[in-house]
Amino acid sequence: MTPLLQTAVELIVAAGLVGGGFFALVGSWGLIRLPRPMQRLHAPTKATTIGVGAALLASSIGDLPQGGTISIQEWLITLFLLLTAPISALFLAKTLILRGEADPDIPDSGTGQPWATLGQERPDP
């Protein structure tokens, strides 16, 4: 690997780490700053997940300058986080709606049926 390429990879890894740290911090800060419960859900699901994702991808190519190979296990963790973040967000939103802690001005579903969480007989989740 030429020295120039080596420096480029190191710069990419450093950028991933710095960006990841920034986004993780923004996610946790948003958790404190945003005033309403539904708004607070947005911060960790997006910012924190991408923060860790950036760090993981940096770790994936981090061995290249020392003559290592690309490690793909980090991709698995990133993929897993990206797939599970929507599911936990959906569960948290449903909990907020059911407990009445979400903003109360929920619109009508427009299909003649209630929303699944608020309906009388809830289907098995």
Binding site: L34, L96, S109, G110, Q113, W115
Partner: protein, 163 residues
């Protein structure tokens, strides 16, 4: 015969890829183990997933994934901007109702996941009949344009892929 041995071919392929990611090595032994797992796990779980997922254009799914990845990155800068620079009482959060044209459960769950990961929106609930999604937008001065974007940018593509 082949259909009974591999009830979910896409699931089998995904399992092989996942196993290679997990062991992090390119060895023949890993491939054997991956194929064993890819045969056994779909057979064991097929009782809970009787219908085969129909994907019309598997290759277009790759393009869709690339689009969503790009949008996730853009979305994060938008959310970071809202968190850092917009005053607390000026953040205009809205509920939106997104009527669905999609029918297959796989496509709808993919759409819900996409909505959650992309710009400023979070899919929160579904109507009891499964034909509308409740979406929460973090900062949407114009809720109609957000709904139109979801429908044209993501749902139309998913409809072409799955139906």
């Amino acid at each position: 015969m082949l259909k009974r041995l591999f009830p979910h071919p896409y699931l089998s392929l995904t399992l092989i890829a996942l196993w290679f990611m997990l062991v992090n090595q390119w060895k023949l032994g890993s491939l054997v183990m991956a194929i064993i797992l890819a045969t056994i796990l779909p057979l064991m779980t097929s009782a809970w997933w009787p219908d085969r997922a129909r994907v019309r254009h598997p290759l277009r799914l790759l393009g869709y994934t690339a689009l969503v990845f790009w949008d996730i990155i853009v979305a994060n800068f938008q959310v970071a901007y809202v968190i850092l620079f917009i005053p607390r009482d000026k953040v205009q959060s809205r509920w939106l109702t997104v009527p669905l044209d999609l029918k297959s459960p796989e496509a709808i769950s993919l759409l819900a996941g996409t909505i959650t990961m992309t710009p400023g929106t979070l899919s929160s609930d579904m109507s009891a009949c499964g034909r509308a999604l409740l979406v929460h937008a973090l900062h949407a001065p114009d809720p109609d344009s957000v709904r139109d974007q979801i429908k044209s940018r993501y749902e139309a593509r998913l409809k072409r892929i799955f139906e």
